[in-house]
């Protein structure tokens, strides 16, 4: 009883932190936008046209990007700062990831609009969930505390679990949602346990305090901390599908509604890598790098090799892209592994470039999949160059970019991570990565050759390209080519963004 009173008495002393509303504006816009959309549609039930939800979502995401701009300026002028009593951090890195997530929301919403119409599905819930999930992603990217990372991850994931299962007429969609949920929950437990162990070893969950603690206290070979790092790596590794925690990915990517797959491949990947990078490179990088680098190097090898080799043995294009995204994850991991300013910039560059490549590729897959979202076999792409020359050209450019052909975004993205890895002394791993790029290039070219040279059985089908999906593809192709030909602006932004990641927690 006395204890209870003591707790009560203590509560009054808990200080409420100052809330810098402008600093968390992008996140607030996304979250409130989602909640507001749900409210509006339930008030004006049934009287809204189908495109309204998409336009709303795109407007919200655009508004969030607009809100990022003054913050970026603020960070450039007065340096990074921590907000909400050190729970979140405002720096260039988090802002760029925020904008990237918003871009992928816009692209996915464009795809979703036409998709829902074609599949005769409806409802604002898709968009609401996507906005909420994006908000979780932004939380992860801005988190300055392991607990906040976890909360962000859960907000992000729970919404995506539901989205994956939303195609109610496709059993494979529900299966994908269920698998993703069960396994996701499983891996969240690992992450949480890792966080607990880390807390035990360092006495804090706040990243800047952990960093400060490790700078003062040398605790090499500490079982608690090493265990914490290992468990957290499992948790993050699951989200970004690092081998051997990857096996959910092909099934889930293949089973999920294609626009949702596009969202997972872009926003979820970006957010999870942002958190991984912040925890491992920024927090543990300066003092503890040598402890986790061999482990991450081993996982990188596995991820690169498995992603490349298993992709080529597939005949389902959606599944191929899922495996190829594992290979891409290996490349991003290479940037993380470098654990240097160049590596951070390269990681960021890769994530942005991959957003355009992946969203665009899955947009093509969504269109070619036709009603029922089931025509994803390689043979469904035969003769596409004749029935839909524009679509075939778009896919070709995107696939070449994924393969890393010069003058596309993919080439420079790969080039920067490899350069960063070589600079940090991982030349052998860079060589291996290049080898796997050669292997996976074969798979991309196989699709291209199928589109252009294979004779279709019977008349080639002419998939309908809805305007919104066409717009999304156009944006992606333009993005891929602009980044490939004039990479200066993006690489400047990536370099500026990263140099500030280090200074957190004032």
């Amino acid at each position: 009883m006395t204890g209870f009173v003591a707790v009560l008495a203590a509560t009054e002393d808990i200080p409420t932190p100052d809330v810098d509303w402008s600093a968390i504006a992008p996140n607030l816009i996304l979250m409130l936008g989602g909640i507001l959309l749900l409210t509006v549609v339930s008030v004006v039930r049934g009287r809204l046209p189908g495109w309204f939800h998409a336009v709303w979502t795109i407007s919200v995401a655009t508004a969030a990007i607009v809100a990022v701009v003054p913050l970026w300026q603020r960070v450039q002028d007065s340096g990074p700062e921590s907000v909400l009593a050190g729970a979140l951090v405002l720096d260039g890195f988090s802002l760029v990831v925020t904008a990237t997530i918003c871009v992928s929301v816009i692209l996915a919403a464009l795809l979703l609009e036409a998709y829902l119409r074609r599949e005769r599905l409806g409802g604002p819930e898709w968009y609401v969930l996507m906005l909420l999930s994006a908000s979780g992603g932004v939380t992860m990217a801005t988190a300055n505390d392991l607990v906040v990372v976890f909360i962000g991850l859960e907000i992000l994931s729970v919404a995506v679990y539901v989205l994956a299962a939303m195609h109610r007429r496709r059993v494979s969609s529900q299966e994908a949602g269920l698998k993703y949920f069960v396994l996701g929950a499983f891996s969240s437990a690992f992450l949480l346990y890792g966080i607990a162990l880390t807390y035990g070893a360092t006495g804090s969950t706040n990243l800047s305090r952990i960093q400060a603690f490790l700078a003062d206290t040398v605790i090499t070979q500490n079982a608690l901390l090493l265990g914490g790092l290992a468990f957290m790596l499992v948790g993050f590794g699951f989200k970004v599908a690092v081998v051997p925690f990857h096996n959910w990915k092909p099934d889930v990517y293949q089973g999920s509604p294609t626009p949702v797959t596009a969202f997972m491949a872009t926003a979820v990947t970006a957010a999870a890598f942002a958190a991984l990078l912040r925890v491992y490179v920024t927090t543990f990088g300066p003092t503890y790098r040598t402890e986790w680098q061999p482990l991450v190097a081993a996982l990188t090898v596995l991820t690169l090799v498995v992603g490349a080799f298993l992709a080529i043995s597939q005949t389902n294009v959606k599944r191929m892209l899922a495996y190829s995204s594992i290979n891409h994850a290996g490349f991003v991991l290479l940037g993380v592994l470098a654990a240097s300013a160049a590596g951070d910039a390269a990681t960021l560059f890769y994530l942005v470039a991959y957003t355009f490549m992946a969203a665009g590729s899955f947009a093509v897959v969504a269109v070619v999949g036709r009603r029922g979202d089931g025509h994803h076999d390689l043979s469904d792409y035969q003769g596409l160059s004749r029935s839909r020359p524009g679509l075939a050209l778009v896919f070709t450019i995107l696939l070449l970019s994924q393969a890393g052909v010069p003058l596309t975004a993919g080439f420079l993205a790969k080039f920067y991570v490899l350069a960063a890895a070589v600079e940090s002394g991982y030349t052998w791993l860079a060589v291996l990565a290049m080898l796997t790029a050669v292997v996976s290039a074969f798979m991309y070219l196989r699709i291209v050759v199928t589109m252009y040279f294979a004779e279709p059985e019977g008349e080639p089908r002419r998939p309908r390209i809805p305007a919104a999906a066409g717009l999304a593809m156009g944006l992606c192709v333009v993005g891929v080519l602009v980044i490939g030909i004039v990479p200066g602006p993006l690489s400047d932004v990536a370099n500026d963004a990263v140099s500030q990641l280090v200074a957190v927690g004032r």
């Binding site: 269920l178 090493l226 925690f245 096996n247 061999p294 043995s313």
Partner: protein, 667 residues
């Protein structure tokens, strides 16, 4: 002189125009557009070249930076073009010969259902090739390098309609990608050690490179070159690439693309000068390739395959020159080879054209009666490649061999192997000429196709595991054309004038090409004077007396090859079977060996990896699962089987991660 951007831009414009409107322009307008684009590019190259000619040697270069590709920072790369003595010469012969071959293709491809698309690829190829030689840094060259590779790959797969032979495209792709890997690694290595990828800066800073680094860079670039330029051990794709239409063989797979490896190493002569023993290796690989491929050329019956192996062999000579740091010789031979090999390919195309697309030389004979122009022009090409003075091939080959003779203690051995390859060259080219144009009998009238013994590469079809391209595949050359079969009452007719004109021009060049660089006095060595200012590395030709002896020996060797071939194929004094050994027909079984290794154990292990994830990992996990049934039972209502195994996959992974961490702990 900023107009050099027009040199690649014109073919790009042609490419874009044909992509948009090619089908509307149709046959032959699309072909003329493509030809004009390349010809225009030749005019610009020539104008810039003449301008540079009037300048002192050290000012003979133009750099145009179109834009800053990779921005400021530690790693800057501009999208820049660099026209100097070396790239200028390359541009001239690429666009010049390119324009002639385009012109030829206007006639050759007539009636092809994919007429405009063919020229789309051809223009894209020329543009990529020009970027490759004009780029002022390694990344630009890599861009072109990938571009020409893609065009080659697409053109091979496109015309290889027979699915059984689709692996020819695959083979070209795989070997070239192995080479590309070398290119990328070398670029990285240079960037990491010198901080730049710009050619001028690299060559200037090369003496600062550590010897080991320079050697590694040279070896990696040579790996890239062996892929693109079809050297041992990666040459197997080139004979298969002959499946493409003949103009493609002439332009891409003989005159230009395959020489890009030679160009690359010459461009980086500063690095090569520091590369130590790598140079010796290059020379040896080159001369052995020359010998091996010349041997294979002896026993081929497909006229294009003879020329394909001959190309591999001549490229070997160029690498022999590069390896002995005799870059002038390499470039000299590259240019004369482009003249006479393009001529021979186009001539072969004219023969194939007039023989209803029959490519088997055993069904030719006595064609000089029907095809006088083709016969005379090809005859000149034959004399040039055989090394008979005063035709162009004699001068350049002599320069290469003389340079090799003087290259250290192993020089005479290199020279001897080279001269042996040259004798073989004279032999198989004479064989080609006799089987095609002489021999009295007109074999297509007497021998039915079925009665021919399936000699040469057609034997042992069961060896062709991974789709070794046998003669059958090559017969499907130019699949788009009407295939009226070669009948006994066929009367060959000369090809149209658009095809004969390039033959005549190239024949003229093949005669006088040697004038570029005559060894009699230094004043006459125009090419050397022109190009040497941009080259590093020391090499010296032997003195005049030795040079005369070597030249006389080389001529004697060529005559010997011709004479022996005459004995066998014209006088029938020796049975051809004594010369055309199966091992030669199969090109020393190198391809078959690869097919067995890659197709057998290689493919099996590959499939095993694919199954590993699906069966073994899951299976092992399931095995663990059966031991821990309770998990399975708990999860079964959710998703029988799979989720359980995936979750266990994650768990097993975590255990591995933890096990790793435990090794680093001190508890």
């Amino acid at each position: 002189m900023d107009a050099i951007w027009l040199i690649p831009a014109l073919p790009v414009a042609g490419f874009l125009l044909l992509v948009v409107a090619g089908r509307k322009l149709g046959d032959p307008a699309a072909g003329w557009v493509a030809t004009l684009a390349v010809a225009g590019s030749f005019v610009v190259s020539a104008a810039v070249f003449l301008h540079l000619l009037g300048l002192p040697a050290e000012e003979r270069n133009v750099t145009v930076t179109l834009w800053q590709w990779l921005p400021a920072g530690s790693f800057q790369v501009s999208f820049g073009l660099f026209f100097d003595q070396l790239s200028g010469v390359m541009c001239l012969f690429i666009t010049g010969i390119g324009a002639l071959i385009h012109l030829y293709a206007v006639g050759y491809m007539k009636g092809d259902p994919h007429y405009s698309r063919f020229f789309v690829y051809l223009n894209l190829f020329v543009a990529s090739m020009l970027l490759l030689v004009l780029g002022d840094n390694l990344l630009m060259t890599f861009l072109g390098w990938e571009g020409v590779g893609a065009c080659s790959y697409l053109l091979i797969s496109f015309w290889f309609t027979d699915p059984a032979n689709a692996s020819a495209g695959k083979k070209a792709f795989v070997t070239n990608r192995i080479g590309d890997l070398g290119f990328m690694l070398a670029t990285f290595l240079l960037f990491v050690s010198l901080g730049t990828v710009n050619y001028t800066e690299i060559n200037a800073a090369a003496p600062k490179l550590a010897g080991v680094t320079a050697t590694a860079v040279a070896l990696l670039f040579f790996l890239a070159a062996t892929g693109k330029s079809a050297q041992l051990p990666l040459f197997v794709w080139l004979p298969d690439a002959m499946a493409g239409p003949t103009p493609v063989s002439a332009l891409i797979h003989a005159a230009t693309m395959v020489t890009s490896g030679v160009f690359l190493l010459t461009r980086l002569s500063g690095v090569m000068a520091e590369a130590g023993w790598a140079n010796g290796l290059i020379a040896w690989v080159g001369v052995l390739t020359a010998l091996v491929a010349a041997g294979a050329g002896v026993a081929q019956n497909d006229i294009k395959k003879v020329l394909a192996y001959s190309t591999v062999s001549q490229l070997g000579f160029m690498f022999l020159a590069v390896g002995t740091q005799n870059y002038v010789g390499a470039i000299f031979h590259m240019i004369t080879h482009a003249f006479f090999k393009a001529l021979l390919f186009l001539g072969a195309g004219a023969v194939i054209y007039s023989m209803a697309h029959e490519q088997d030389m055993r069904r030719y004979g006595n064609l000089r009666k029907y095809l006088p122009v083709t016969f005379v022009t090809m005859g000149i090409g034959w004399l040039a490649i055989s090394g008979i003075p005063p035709f162009s091939g004699f001068w350049s080959k002599d320069e290469v061999l003389a340079g090799a003779f003087n290259a250290g203690p192993a020089g005479p051995v290199l020279w001897f192997l080279g001269i042996t390859a040259a004798v073989l060259t004279a032999f198989y080219m004479t064989r080609l000429m006799i089987m095609t144009f002489f021999g009295g009998a007109e074999h297509w009238r007497t021998d039915a196709a079925e009665s021919l013994p399936e000699g040469g590469a057609d034997e042992d079809a069961e060896l062709s595991v991974a789709g070794h391209d046998t003669g059958h595949g090559a017969h499907s050359d130019d699949a788009g054309h009407d295939h009226h079969h070669l009948t006994p009452d066929h009367t060959p007719r000369e090809a149209p004038v658009t095809m004969l004109l390039p033959l005549v021009v190239l024949a003229g060049l093949a005669v006088v090409g040697g004038l570029m660089n005559l060894p009699f006095s230094h004043r006459l060595e125009n090419l050397a004077i022109w190009i040497e200012p941009v080259l590093a590395g020391e090499h010296e030709l032997p003195g005049a007396a030795v040079l005369w002896v070597l030249a006389i020996l080389a001529t004697a060797g060529a005559v010997l090859g011709v004479w022996f071939s005459y004995r066998v194929y014209q006088q029938h004094k020796v049975a051809p079977e004594k010369v055309e050994k199966p091992v030669l027909a199969h090109a020393w079984y190198i391809d078959e060996t690869y097919a067995k290794v890659v197709g057998g154990p290689g493919e099996a292990s590959f499939d095993a990896v694919a199954e590993f994830d699906q069966k073994v990992v899951d299976g092992a996990v399931n095995g663990v699962g059966s031991g821990t049934r309770w998990i399975g039972r708990a999860l079964r209502p959710l998703q029988p089987g799979f989720v359980r195994s995936y979750a266990l996959g994650v768990a097993v992974g975590s255990v591995l991660v933890l096990a790793f961490v435990v090794t680093r702990m001190s508890l």
